[in-house]
């Protein structure tokens, strides 16, 4: 018994030493080099040490949930609002990301008081200008991707991909589950191949002539055009053009990379400071130039590669609350699976 209490004592010392240091602990599912650079900037500026545990979102979420109140996690940073929303639904987040700085920087569509968007991306359509005419494209919406005229011409990722889950969740929010179930069946019958590969692979499939249109996120094309993926992919990217769907109604489907405040965060204040730092123009510029995402705040321009090749004047869907992505995620998976979307 004596031994156990000594053990507990040592344990508690260990724990308290952990909790009182001037630091912030991030469970990080975004692994861009640019992010790490921003975190060290933050440390230099504030003296707050940033501790990272990198991993896939699912495993990180599980760990936060299992650790419960004792979790050392302060912030959970991940790509896709659907993930932050789902974490919220599990009761693992807390309010507090509602400082004036945050509210002023981020439009209300892209935040709750528990999670906040730190960068934006749109999920859009890429097409081959050689094989797809302007007339065919005119007025294209996500809904019309189910149109039989695209039979055998469309590529898109697997249904297990979170970007697709969120896209379909937004369709359920706007059109209802029944209509979206029909839509998913149409999309599946239009697919040029069984879904495989990441977003970039979809764009390259269009460049290589495997398909005529692809659904993928905006930053991938800019990434390929930047030459960071090599000369071949740069050349391939030039064979593909971007199209922003739903310009005549609610606007193009938007998503975010989000930072969520974990319940029981031992360094809540530091966490909020870090989020505010990520929303400064300096950090936002760093994001846009390195990850090719859209800035979360006004007054910062996207990377020239994005502006020149994708354009800036498109209507974003500001109507559909991003919180609905998490809420409708289960229904989205159900709808896609039922349609035979691999």
């Amino acid at each position: 018994m004596k031994k156990i209490s000594i053990f507990a004592l040592i344990g508690s010392l260990f724990v308290s030493a952990f909790a009182y240091a001037n630091e912030v602990n991030i469970f990080n599912a975004r692994h861009y080099k640019a992010d790490a650079e921003l975190y060290s900037k933050f440390t230099n500026k504030t003296g707050i040490k940033v501790n990272l545990i990198n991993g896939k979102s699912g495993a990180l979420e599980k760990r936060i949930i299992s650790e419960g109140k004792d979790s050392s996690a302060d912030l959970y940073i991940t790509a896709d609002a659907g993930r932050c929303g789902a974490m919220d639904a599990k009761g693992t987040l807390q309010g507090g990301l509602s400082s004036e700085a945050i509210k002023a920087a981020v439009p209300s569509t892209f935040r709750t008081n528990k999670w906040v968007g730190i960068a934006k991306r749109a999920r859009i359509v890429y097409y081959s200008p050689e094989r797809v005419s302007g007339a065919e494209l005119s007025g294209l919406t996500y809904e019309s991707l189910a149109d039989p005229k695209w039979k055998g011409r469309l590529v898109i990722r697997k249904s297990s991909n979170i970007y697709n889950k969120s896209l379909v969740a937004s369709l359920i929010k706007n059109n209802g589950k029944k209509a979206t179930a029909e839509w998913a069946k149409g999309v599946v019958s239009n697919m040029a191949r069984t879904p495989t590969g990441n977003d970039r692979a979809q764009i390259m499939a269009v460049a290589a002539g495997e398909a005529d249109i692809a659904v993928a996120n905006t930053y991938y094309l800019a990434l390929m055009l930047s030459g960071k993926k090599g000369a071949e992919q740069q050349a391939a990217a030039k064979k593909v053009k971007a199209f922003f769907p739903n310009q005549n109604d609610r606007g193009t489907h938007m998503n975010i990379s989000c930072a969520a405040l974990v319940k029981g965060a031992p360094n809540k204040k530091n966490a909020i400071k870090l989020v505010e730092f990520l929303l400064t123009p300096e950090s936002q510029e760093h994001f846009t130039n390195n990850t090719f995402e859209f800035p979360m705040i006004d007054g910062v321009s996207p990377s020239p590669l994005v502006v020149n090749n994708l354009g800036l004047d498109f209507k974003q869907d500001m109507k559909t609350k991003l919180a609905s992505y998490g809420k409708n995620q289960a229904a989205a998976v159900e709808v896609m699976t039922a349609a035979g979307w691999k």
């Binding site: 260990f14 724990v15 599980k62 299992s66 697997k158 290589a208 002539g209 960071k228």
Partner: protein, 541 residues
């Protein structure tokens, strides 16, 4: 004396309990509420998982069998150019984990990938993408796993072929068999236990495979458990899938045990055989043998190595972004700490079995080696779930401070779960070493007045030294390549080559994954190179 026995007993008991905890956790659903999502779709999912696992398993087994026994046969019985080089070079494929093989396949064959670049440089601009075969999805997973694991079959089969020596070939000749017929009718059946043992190792690793299967997003039983547990919080369904997975594994265990029983029978016969010179192949046939071995060596090792090297050179900025020394330090730290703990406890446990001859102890040891059959992902999650439950319902109830931070996200937790996963490697390795020390050696030592402890330290340990070295290498290779456990349980700011490669790859930064992958291959290769002679000899003995 009595106290001494108890020490062995208690340590064996602890080890067994510890290993059983995760299995227990997987099967008990009282820790969490389960969801009722997709009730209707679950059966569809289940069928898909089982089918995919079966397809994966069957094709991997066929390919590893063909390559593993083929190379072992050629290398064991014939001389041809570079045959002594291939003898150990083929084992280098162990240095390439399936997930890195998967990255290489994708990098080379994808649209506008390396194959495209090569064709473009050779023949100028052209529309090559349509003519480049695509190795992704199930096909990619099968190839990645096969080329990474066939060495299990190669090593064990080759060892068994060496016992048989040339006598079997002569027997075939005397019977008027062709080379193929004597291979098919005599050599192969007599090596069957070794082949089955090798294949069952391959099968277990295939069922447990996470990295490559996840990369190609194939839904197998293992990724199915992971997804239904992690993504949907559906523990009941995860348990249902686990049940099927364990059924598979149980069948494999049985097979493997049966083959072991036969292996002993064969071992006794070997003294009757004499070693003879290998047969020199005719010119054409020796070219054929060379081509076959080179092809296997190229595809399993040189191809992924050069692809990673090519990327490292093509995108050199990634080389400077990485603190290789820290990654190396972390990797070696985990390797040495885990090897030490594993060897210590398996020595204790084996010695306990030897001196006590207790049936209970024996049974517990058998139980505690089952960890190897459970996929790492599942062990890691089960560990977290168990610690969380234990902490909430026992530790806190007794008024102690939470123990979660001591076990979750700490080196301690990481090493504990490695321990469960790799205990059978260490335990079985030492056991086979012990089997070579006749029990009369112990008795002589006692007669000389040695205590049990002294017998152990001064006689057993020196005798076992070679086995221990071999086990350290095996454990090291496993831990260098290990992915899911490290990924889920490691502390803050702690990366290894494997986690760095995986994380870059999962973010669509395959080029950045190349640098850590390259180093991982190089380090694992150097481990193999240093001890290759030893690996081959140890199995032969």
């Amino acid at each position: 004396m009595f106290r001494f026995f108890n020490l062995w007993f208690i340590s064996s008991l602890l080890v067994s309990i510890f290993v059983i905890i995760p299995i227990f956790t997987v099967f008990t659903s009282f820790f969490e509420n389960t969801s009722d999502y997709y009730e209707l779709l679950k059966n569809t999912f289940l069928i898909e998982y089982i089918t995919n696992s079966l397809i994966l398993l069957i094709f991997v087994l066929i390919i590893t069998f063909l390559i593993g026994t083929g190379t072992a046969y050629v290398v064991s019985f014939y001389t041809f150019p570079f045959c002594n080089f291939f003898k150990w070079a083929i084992i280098l494929s162990f240095a390439v984990p399936p997930y890195i093989y998967a990255y290489s396949l994708t990098a080379f064959f994808e649209n506008y990938g390396t194959a495209f670049t090569i064709l473009k440089n050779l023949f100028g601009d052209g529309d090559y993408n349509k003519n480049i075969p695509k190795f992704d999805g199930m096909l990619g997973a099968i190839l990645s796993i096969s080329f990474s694991l066939f060495a299990y079959v190669y090593i064990l089969t080759r060892a068994s072929f060496l016992y048989q020596s040339q006598n079997l070939i002569e027997l075939g000749k005397n019977l008027g068999f062709s080379k193929f017929r004597s291979f098919y009718k005599i050599i192969l059946p007599s090596a069957r236990p070794a082949i089955v043992a090798g294949l069952s190792l391959v099968a277990m690793e295939t069922l447990a495979e996470f990295g490559a299967v996840d990369f190609f997003s194939i839904n197998t039983l293992t990724t199915g458990i992971y997804n239904s547990w992690i993504a949907f919080d559906d523990l009941a369904f995860a348990n249902r899938i686990s049940f099927f997975l364990l059924l598979f594994i149980f069948a494999l265990f049985l097979l493997e045990n049966l083959s072991r029983r036969n292996a002993k029978y064969h071992l006794n016969v070997r003294s009757g055989f004499k070693r003879k010179e290998k047969i020199k192949l005719s010119r054409n046939k020796s070219y054929l043998a060379f081509t076959f071995c080179f092809l296997v060596f190229f595809l399993s090792f040189l191809f992924p190595l050069t692809q990673m090297l090519y990327w490292t050179i093509k995108f050199p900025e990634n080389l400077f972004d990485l603190n290789i020394f820290i990654l190396l330090k972390n990797t070696l730290y985990l390797v040495s700490l885990s090897s030490f703990v594993l060897i210590l406890f398996s020595l204790l446990s084996n010695y306990g079995n030897r001196v006590s001859k207790s049936k209970t102890l024996n049974f517990m040891s058998t139980l505690s080696i089952s960890g190897y059959a459970i996929p790492g992902v599942i062990l890691a999650i089960a560990f977290i779930t168990f610690i969380a439950w234990f902490d909430e319902s026992i530790v806190k109830l007794l008024g102690f401070t939470s123990i979660k931070k001591i076990f979750i996200g700490s080196i301690l937790g990481l090493v504990l779960v490695y321990f469960v996963r790799f205990y059978s490697l260490a335990f079985n390795g030492i056991k086979s070493g012990y089997e070579k020390i006749n029990i009369s050696v112990d008795e002589s030592a006692y007669l000389l007045g040695y205590s049990k402890r002294k017998t152990f330290m001064n006689i057993h340990v020196p005798f076992l030294r070679n086995s221990l070295l071999f086990i350290v290498i095996l454990i090291s290779l496993e831990i260098i390549r290990e992915l899911p456990i490290t990924l889920i349980l490691r502390p803050f700011n702690f990366e290894t080559f494997a986690t760095t490669a995986y994380i870059s790859a999962s973010e669509d930064l395959l080029e950045a994954a190349a640098v850590p992958a390259l180093f991982l291959i190089l380090i694992a290769s150097s481990f193999i190179l240093v001890t290759s002679k030893y690996i081959l000899r140890e199995i032969n003995e």
